[in-house]
């Protein structure tokens, strides 16, 4: 199951549906809003998604993880909207019989979600600037003082 949410992510609640008695291992990953990125002090950030497509692609990733690894259950939730330092940006939980595949499926899911889902992160810096992350043109343009990603 893949979800997008504008509400704070609560791992203990999300884990509930994965508590199967035939599972001996549970691997999870959380992304956290970090206070700096590439040398800049971050104050907060905004996640924007192309919701319809992100949900479809997220479900695809979940199904791929299930097919590639002999896991019992997997769930991923991505936050959208404005997030403060320390908040959870994404949560992935994988329950399985053995730990090996739980780790591998969790790793697979986070990598695929980050690479493929139409979700964008805009960082708000302490100095008042902002930038869309992953947009190499933004910083290049910035140096040339042309139109930029910052506002």
């Amino acid at each position: 199951m893949f979800l997008l949410t504008e509400q704070p992510i609560q791992p203990p609640l999300l884990k509930q549906s994965l508590l199967h008695h035939d599972c001996g291992g549970f691997a999870s990953f959380e992304g956290w809003v970090r206070d700096w990125n590439e040398g800049r002090r971050v104050q907060s950030l905004l996640y924007e998604s192309f919701e319809e497509l992100a949900l479809k692609e997220g479900e695809k990733v979940i199904e791929e993880a299930r097919k590639r690894f002999p896991i019992r259950d997997v769930k991923a939730v991505h936050r959208t909207g404005h997030l403060e330092l320390g908040e959870i940006t994404i949560w992935i939980g994988v329950a399985s019989r053995h730990r090996e595949e739980a780790f591998m499926a969790c790793r697979y899911a986070i990598d695929a979600i980050k690479a493929r889902l139409p979700i964008w992160k805009k960082e708000f810096y302490l100095n008042g600037e902002t930038a869309w992350v992953g947009c190499s043109h933004c910083s290049k343009l910035k140096q040339k003082n042309e139109a930029t990603c910052t506002q």
Partner: protein, 84 residues
């Protein structure tokens, strides 16, 4: 040579949305593929990203830049993502 003009629904996200100044717009064009359409759009909007840096989705599904467009298609050019 006269070209058929078709109407497309464009959706913008993230930096493209900021550059365009709108989150969607209707566009009339003789372009028959996303590649042609983005070329036209880039000239018009002065977007700094080339199509090699984008993906494209039509009617809510990823597709390729040589896909044949149809009247009324909803088209989203997907700038580099940074989720998670």
């Amino acid at each position: 040579m006269t070209m058929d003009q078709r109407s497309y629904q464009l959706q913008y996200f993230a930096m493209l949305k900021e550059w365009a100044g709108v989150d969607k717009e209707e566009m009339s064009s003789s372009a028959t593929t996303p590649r042609e359409l983005y070329k036209e759009l880039r000239d018009k909007r002065n977007f700094p990203l080339s199509d090699t840096e984008l993906r494209v989705a039509i009617n809510g599904d990823f597709t390729d830049f040589d896909h044949n467009l149809a009247e009324g298609d909803q088209i989203a050019f997907i700038p580099p993502v940074s989720g998670g």
